[in-house]
Symmetry: C3
Subunit: 323 residues, 3 copies
């Protein structure tokens, strides 16, 4: 635009002045004013890494659409080298941003990348078992193929298993970026730090929150809106690192909307936690926890809607609640 | 990389060995080890099909941004042929993966595609009525245009109506892929099998789950977090095909967070189901169901926060719950 | 396809006939039958605008991946001119679709755009304070950088602050499109009309709904599934413009799943609203509101699962709820 010296309308001049104001604003030195490029892992590259990793985990199910290669083994080989290259590069950026001595960054990034790749067969084994758990547990599943290509629960769990490997390898930033990408896609929010056992099945999933220090056993099944969370605390950042989230033992089912809170809370094996239960204490093995009937009130026929609630000593008694 | 025979660093060698390990892992013969290409419908093609179908359903509202065509009728004609081509192709893949005799696949795919296209005016009529229901029911709507181009409820419902046609035509996989795509975008999870009447309005929508065998009448309005689900069962895959989800009759409003469960559960016409209600039995027509006050406890002034709950015989009585 | 006159299979003929039927359907004159192009803001352009605005708000954190520019100040300058150009164009389209006199549209669009850009430093200041609130309040945050590049709460809040400026400038459509884009990505649904104070922290976030006329003070912290909503009303469109959503004063924390409803409802400063609380009346400052124990029932050992609920006078008493 600056080339058009023959005509600069008032709007253009105003924009240039506003640009100056914004650029000045960058000089205030706050965290958001950092201008250095390439000091953080690249979210778009990490998204692509996830897509590529899915092609390695489920080789026949996710294809590269830009070109067709009939020799899949060759294409997987190329894919793995591509993954190794980008993961090593992004890991180096993450380690550097975490303050690692520059001399160590490259070799550490390569070590971590090799370690990550060596654990892919283990992630595939876990994904295979998660797939079986989903198929066996869901009457709506037409086939295992349907589950692999479209179920958000399997998608989010598989991303979490991949991110968890990097979390255990102490890579900064990247595990969280991966988990938030899966969260965006599925509405399922599982911290990469959570430890999840075998045959883990998430049905529906929207609104699930599983905290960083959760521990989940085998054959666990959870439904949408379930929270494995922390009890309140004023500690904020001081709590970083402590076990704040519950332990779920083997063969537990947790129905929709239930909340299980607290680092010391253990849900004993073979228990069933009913919908909307709110649990802050441990539950013994083999227990069924359900919520007593919330007393429902029924009013029939032509009673007019009352937009205001009648006075009551507690929260109100409005007949109809809109959100 | 194999061309660089003059220099292979240790990292590269390690990656090649890891590649071998991963390729060997594919030989284990599990479902996830399938290597055949092109045996499943292509998720990216189906996403594009949805975008193209939206341009057909709402022709002035969703444009092809890559080129401008001033003769919209011509461009719709091209669009429909493009849709017919890709839908027929993906349907053939789906039928084939479902085990259909190869001799029948192509003609069946074409028959299904033609049937689907013949039902587009019917889907458009339903979308028009859903649009009116949204505008009439939502004080926050500035205009009908705003609803078409940005409301997640209308988006998810329209995708479901399209997917439902394919579901009724017994196409494997594709209906579910479409529904999960809408679920990813909107947080609204409606199984393509659900039967939905006219003037259906979803407000906000995040967390809604509507099960495969739900039946919904006309003028039904539902809010975020509502579940039309199944009662628990150990049947898993054996329950496939039975009616497991409720029936909602005409003119029913279901407020946020309510759950209605069970294949025999009928919510009678002209009923209102209050927020957070939990219903596992039928409700007669003209009934208002609300939840009795959950007793709220109020504590004022300088009482210190108690991070641990006091002992109690049931689930705990912590003052503050964090998730 | 019409060039292939030598061979037109039956399928092609059928498709052409179906095309005619669909084109005829457009002649019915409903709102969805509008064929005029370019009369609504372009959703894809607005998504890109959001991405570009994020590069201006957090200059070192979101990069343009298609090319690298080492002089960031130059690239920000180009970016701002690009934003000004597209925002002005889309605003003009929005004003025009809202019925503004064509003679005023262009100058108004430019005035609005300049006003918007002048408020970017103010949005950046608010984003910086939101960032601090997130870091201080979340034990799971590894660093401030992690929050900027991956936290959905900060993302949705920042988009809302940008959209709110346009909302206050009375731009039709665009604020809502921006908010719904953030909603798609994060599951957090904040109307662009909501007024939000400083140091606003959303943790997890999926399922949050904040209504158009909400007012939120400083140092407010909310968790997933919280609703700031309206009480039910039969008014529909007639309620447009009235205050329907609550006021949250300073230093309030609202835990997961709580609902606060009503335009006259005020949550007094320094209050804490416990998880799943349902509030339709004002709460005095300094109050802790928690929900009395929902009575949990525990059943141990080998009691068989009961798939049907036992008869009860209210909603049912099924042991296990599946969704």
């Amino acid at each position: 635009m600056t080339e058009k010296k023959t005509y600069i309308p008032a709007f253009e001049i105003e924009i240039q002045e506003l640009e100056r104001a914004i650029l000045e604003d960058y000089g205030r030195g706050r965290v958001i004013d950092r201008l250095e490029l390439f000091t953080q892992p690249d979210g778009a590259v990490i998204e692509e890494l996830i897509e590529k990793l899915f092609r390695v985990v489920f080789p026949g199910y996710f294809r590269d659409h830009t070109y067709r290669i009939f020799n899949l083994r060759n294409s997987i080989s190329n894919l793995l080298e591509d993954i190794a290259h980008h993961l090593s590069e992004q890991t180096a950026i993450a380690l550097r941003s975490g303050g690692m001595d520059e001399k160590k960054v490259r070799s550490e990034a390569e070590r971590i990348t090799a370690e990550f790749l060596s654990r892919i067969p283990e992630v595939r084994e876990a994904a295979d078992m998660d797939l079986s758990a989903a198929f066996d547990g869901d009457p709506a599943a037409g086939s295992r193929e349907e589950i692999i290509i479209s179920y958000p629960g399997l998608y989010a769990t598989t991303v979490q298993r991949l991110a968890h490997v990097l979390y255990e390898l102490n890579v900064p930033l990247i595990p969280r970026i991966m988990a938030e990408y899966a969260h965006n896609r599925t509405g399922i929010d599982i911290h990469p730090g959570a430890r999840i056992g075998r045959r883990f099945f998430i049905d529906h999933g929207t609104g699930i929150v599983i905290g960083e220090t959760s521990v989940i056993g085998d054959n666990v099944k959870i439904y949408q809106g379930v929270t494995l969370g922390a009890l309140s605390t004023r500690e904020g950042q001081r709590a970083h690192g402590k076990k704040r989230h519950p332990t779920i033992e083997n063969n537990v089912t947790i129905y929709a909307g239930a909340s299980i809170l607290g680092g010391d809370t253990v849900i004993g094996h073979d228990s069933i936690i009913g919908s909307n239960a709110f649990i802050t204490r441990s539950v013994e093995p083999g227990t069924r926890v359900s919520v007593s009937n919330r007393e429902l009130q029924f009013r029939s026929g032509g009673s007019p809607a009352k937009p205001e609630a009648e006075p009551a000593k507690s929260g109100g008694d409005a007949w109809c609640y809109i959100i």
